[in-house]
């Protein structure tokens, strides 16, 4: 695995965010650049690049304001966006 450079936590990254409930793929226009994948357990995974921490918090705020319960959030290595 590539050694991540110091300071990379403030640069862009790929995130996987799991929410409770099935969000129709058409909501993708609201989360520009991300993909929405419903899972069998009734949750939805939102995946994609997020340019920085501020953008991440903005995304979380949108999820909050839609009333979509957060289940988990992970940052994935950028050279493996489909992990």
């Amino acid at each position: 695995m590539k050694h991540t450079a110091r300071g990379s936590s403030h640069r862009s990254g790929h995130y996987r965010i799991r929410i409770e409930g099935r969000l129709d793929p058409r909501w993708v226009t609201r989360f520009a650049g991300m993909t929405l994948a419903p899972e069998d357990d009734g949750t939805t995974v939102i995946t994609g690049p997020v340019v920085d921490q501020a953008a991440l918090h903005g995304l979380l705020r949108t999820l909050r304001d839609l009333g979509l319960p957060l289940v988990s959030l992970t940052r994935t290595p950028t050279d493996d966006p489909y992990a």
Partner: protein, 901 residues
């Protein structure tokens, strides 16, 4: 500031009819009357506002409820607190009246300001509730500190109620532990099965089987917004059970599913209306009509409200509404899917409407959303001058930072606006780069010539201002960087380049004044500050005039011109009291200044009065340095009264409230503290300071270090007296010689007098009485014209003895005040020729209604004797009538009985 939108923020929503009774929720909220903070924290659509309004509706009549609906703009302290106070004034009209105008010019209120508000709340005879709705929009570092302070010091009858989607940044754990917190969370707000049943059956009027109700409750999990939508979907639907089965079996995002259901049941026009208006934060008839291009917007909104279609009224007149957040989000998603090409145009129309309505804020927001960045930039440019006049620098910054960078680069007016806003917020990082950008364009921006194609200017008048503005900001940068000559150079250019403007030249003059002052050129500094004051006065910036006054007076005091300094303060006070309206910020600072001068002249009574008057006006009316200056000056008063312990305490406090600014620190607090320590005989501590922090006796002398150096001299003298080391005395003498030369060169009369008195002491210490007396005499002579007294009373017996030996009228006055620790009988009240005890008695009777013979009888003297007394009294007071005598006596506080404290 006043716009129709403001009223909607303060509008308290009315409780809905037909609500389900929820006793356990009401019970929980009842406890709010005992708690400091009631927190209603749950995601969107859980019925927070409904629960609160229902509870508030049953408060006793006399309880005051102030409601404030927050939005993103309130994350900024000035906006937040202005609205909070405005809301409170709705129930307690006197709260914050004096404080409100101050908030518009400063960034965040000081603790003193908040304390004032808290005190005023404490005076309320009734319970007061401050409800902050949508607190998550305003929560942030800017307001968290102030809110924490407010919470901590709330009087018992005041209660805070916060409704939010995210737990606020407040000390909740502490409040929970101390029992001061009432919490209502999502779990509490979820509808139980029984409540769901009641809602669906009674409120929504549906006829459902208990299985159906249970299925709905499971699916919605008691989320009331979902229940509402479900009810709407079931209205008049013949196949209720089929719908519920399908609904329960579907795991789509519930709001999504239900809103789509509801939408699909709406007539075409309404469907369109809902989608198109979903781009708006707030809805009103005219705006909706403009955006949809169809008439009858008002009727539609009323219909939506009647149908309970997630439209929330924002005022009593049904003029403004907004969509419930969840509904709006889904609507927008539908809009983007069904009519993506319309979106930009909808925003454009909305922006146009707001522009017409004179609301640049939302106009800019919609222009940006429409992708019309150039138009948005135009709007910002046009709005800047007024925002600048209103000191809304943070707003300017926010708007410009919301525009694309390369756009700002091309618009010098925006770039300079940003520079000004950044510097006002003490954020200097990017300023240099941006100034250089603007400077590059300046040669091309000559009046009348066409602009080069690369740059854009919308507000033509602002162009004329640019060259001067650039120089002004360069001067400020130079000052911050310590380049004093650079500061003056740029300031002069700014003044020369100013066209039709008072504010830039005034700012530039003040910067040049600061530079001169720091380098010790007092006369030049005074000239500059005087010019600045004139400009500020013309521009009507009266608080700044008061701030400038302090600098002018301090310079005169340094020059020993006490009379001029006093006149400066008195003129400023006239200005401050002449206007109508709330008192001007900076007024108490003037009184502190007058007290300072009175203390130099040994007039303790005037000093006391002035400091008291400053106190009465209140700390919130003071300029930023006021808390420090008041304490430091009162410390001098206590010292003069002989109360060294109190003086020390005040100086310690002063240290805690000290805020450094760009003015030169010519009387460093640490040196002041040392002087008091010496007066208490604490020589060792003083020597430690001198060793660790004081300038070396052999260091170069300069205006900036003069005070500290003079303190070092005193330490050396004290050391000599303690240890008898001649070397110390020699050091002191050498230093004093250099200090004298420097003070004389710099025209600092006050310092010259001080140096002479210290030289007199060193000569006295060596046994050279002639030399000592000569210097003392010279000091006294120099002191007489302006009435310097204090400089002779701080060195105790040795100097007092010398002064007495000089036997001048001023000497008698100085010796009357005595050395600290020796309390003189309070007879004279600061007069050259004090009144005798008998004369004081007569004076007190002159202040009564008794006529001449009446007073004579009271005193058991003849009328002739009385006449002799009154003649003497009039002469000593410098008056020619009884009334004038009484007035003067009141000014000098001679009419109180002499029983001491």
């Amino acid at each position: 500031m006043a716009s129709p939108l403001v009223g909607t923020k303060l509008y308290r929503p009315q409780p809905r009819r037909g609500l389900v009774a929820r006793p356990r929720l009401s019970e929980r909220l009842e406890r709010a009357a005992e708690a400091r903070l009631t927190l209603v924290s749950a995601p969107a659509g859980f019925g927070k506002t409904t629960a609160l309004t229902a509870w508030l509706a049953v408060r006793p009549q006399q309880d005051g409820v102030a409601w404030l609906s927050l939005d993103e703009g309130d994350a900024q302290a000035a906006s937040f607190w202005t609205y909070v106070i405005t809301a409170l004034q709705g129930v307690a009209p006197d709260v914050g009246a004096a404080v409100l105008p101050l908030l518009q010019s400063s960034r965040a209120p000081s603790e003193a300001t908040l304390a004032t508000i808290l005190n005023e709340l404490g005076a309320s005879p009734h319970q007061l509730y401050l409800v902050l709705d949508d607190y998550h929009l305003a929560d942030g570092p800017d307001i968290a500190a102030g809110m924490t302070f407010l919470l901590h010091h709330l009087p018992p009858q005041a209660h805070l109620v916060i409704s939010t989607r995210a737990d606020p940044d407040l000390p909740l754990a502490r409040l929970r532990a101390s029992g001061d917190l009432v919490e209502v969370r999502a779990a509490d707000l979820r509808f139980t099965l029984a409540e769901t049943s009641a809602y669906l059956t009674d409120t929504a009027g549906l006829e459902l089987t208990s299985d159906a109700v249970a299925a709905l409750e499971t699916r919605t999990e008691g989320w009331v917004s979902a229940l509402q939508l479900a009810a709407l979907s079931l209205e008049g639907r013949p196949d209720a059970d089929a719908f519920i089965d399908h609904f329960a079996g579907d795991d789509r995002y519930i709001v999504d599913y239900l809103v789509e259901e509801v939408l699909s049941r709406q007539p075409e026009q309404l469907h369109t209306f809902l989608l198109q208006t979903s781009v708006l934060d707030r809805l009103t008839a005219g705006l909706c009509e403009t955006v949809t291009g169809r008439p009858g917007g008002g009727a539609v909104l009323e219909a939506l409200e009647r149908q309970n279609l997630f439209v929330i009224p924002l005022d009593d007149h049904r003029r403004w509404y907004r969509y419930h957040q969840l509904f709006a989000d889904v609507l927008q998603a539908h809009l983007h899917r069904e009519r993506p090409d319309e979106v930009a145009d909808l925003h454009r129309r909305a922006g146009g409407w707001y522009e017409q309505a004179g609301e640049p804020g939302p106009a800019v927001h919609h222009a940006l959303a429409a992708g019309d960045v150039d138009h948005a930039a135009d709007l910002v440019e046009l709005a800047i001058p007024q925002l600048r006049r209103d000191r809304r620098e943070a707003t300017i910054r926010g708007w410009i930072e919301g525009l694309p960078e390369e756009l700002v680069r091309r618009r010098p007016v925006l770039a300079i606006g940003l520079v000004g806003a950044l510097m006002a917020g003490n954020d200097f990082a990017d300023v240099e780069g941006r100034l250089r950008d603007v400077e590059r364009w300046l040669p091309a921006l000559r009046a009348g010539e066409p602009l080069p194609s690369e740059i854009v200017v919308t507000h033509q008048d602002e162009v004329a201002r640019l060259p001067a503005a650039v120089q002004l900001y360069r001067a400020a940068l130079a000052l911050i960087g310590g380049d004093l000559s650079g500061t003056v150079r740029h300031a002069e250019r700014a003044i020369a380049l100013s066209v039709d403007d008072d504010v830039i030249p005034a700012g530039a003059s003040a910067l040049a004044g600061l530079a001169h002052w720091t380098s010790g050129d007092l006369e030049a500094a005074h000239r500059r500050y005087a010019a600045s004051l004139g400009g500020l006065q013309s521009a009507g910036h009266l608080s700044d005039v008061l701030g400038c006054t302090i600098a002018l007076a301090d310079i005169r005091i340094a020059q020993g011109r006490l009379g001029d300094a006093l006149a400066t303060y008195q003129a400023a006070l006239q200005l401050a009291v002449r206007r109508s309206g709330p008192p001007l910020r900076g007024t108490p600072d003037m009184h502190v200044g007058i007290a300072q001068i009175a203390l130099e002249r040994g007039d303790l009574e005037t000093a006391r009065q002035q400091l008291r008057r400053a106190c009465d006006l209140g700390e919130h009316l003071g300029l930023p340095q006021y808390p420090y200056r008041w304490r430091a000056t009162t410390a001098v008063l206590r010292e003069s009264e002989g109360d060294l312990a109190a003086a020390m305490d005040l100086l310690d406090e002063a240290q805690r409230v000290y805020i450094g600014d760009f003015s030169p620190d010519v009387r460093p607090l640490s040196a002041r503290i040392v002087r008091v320590q010496l007066a208490r005989g604490d020589v060792d501590t003083a020597m430690q300071w001198a060793g660790a922090h004081g300038p070396a006796a052999t260091d170069d002398v300069s205006y900036l270090h003069e005070f500290a150096h003079l303190t070092v001299v005193r330490v050396l003298l004290a050391e000599y007296r303690l240890r008898g080391s001649e070397a110390r005395l020699d050091e002191a003498d050498a230093l004093l010689d250099r200090l004298l030369a420097s003070a004389e060169n710099g025209g600092r009369r006050g310092s010259v007098i001080e140096v002479l008195t210290l030289q007199a002491l060193t000569h006295q210490a060596r046994g050279d009485l002639t030399g000592a007396l000569a210097r003392c005499e010279r000091a006294l002579t120099m002191a007489r014209p302006e009435g310097h007294v204090r400089v002779f009373t701080t060195e105790g017996e040795p100097l007092a003895a010398l002064v007495e030996a000089c036997r001048r009228p001023t000497a008698r006055e100085a010796s009357d005040h005595g050395a600290p620790g020796r309390r003189s009988a309070r007879t004279g009240g600061g007069l050259v020729d004090p009144l005798s005890a008998r004369e004081l008695e007569v004076l007190r009777l002159l202040a009564t209604d008794l006529d001449g013979p009446g007073i004579a009888r009271h005193l058991m003297v003849s009328v002739n004797t009385l006449r002799t007394h009154t003649k003497s009294i009039y002469a000593k007071l410098g008056v020619t009538s009884r009334r004038a005598a009484v007035r003067r006596a009141q000014q000098l506080d001679l009419l109180s009985t002499p029983s001491g404290r």
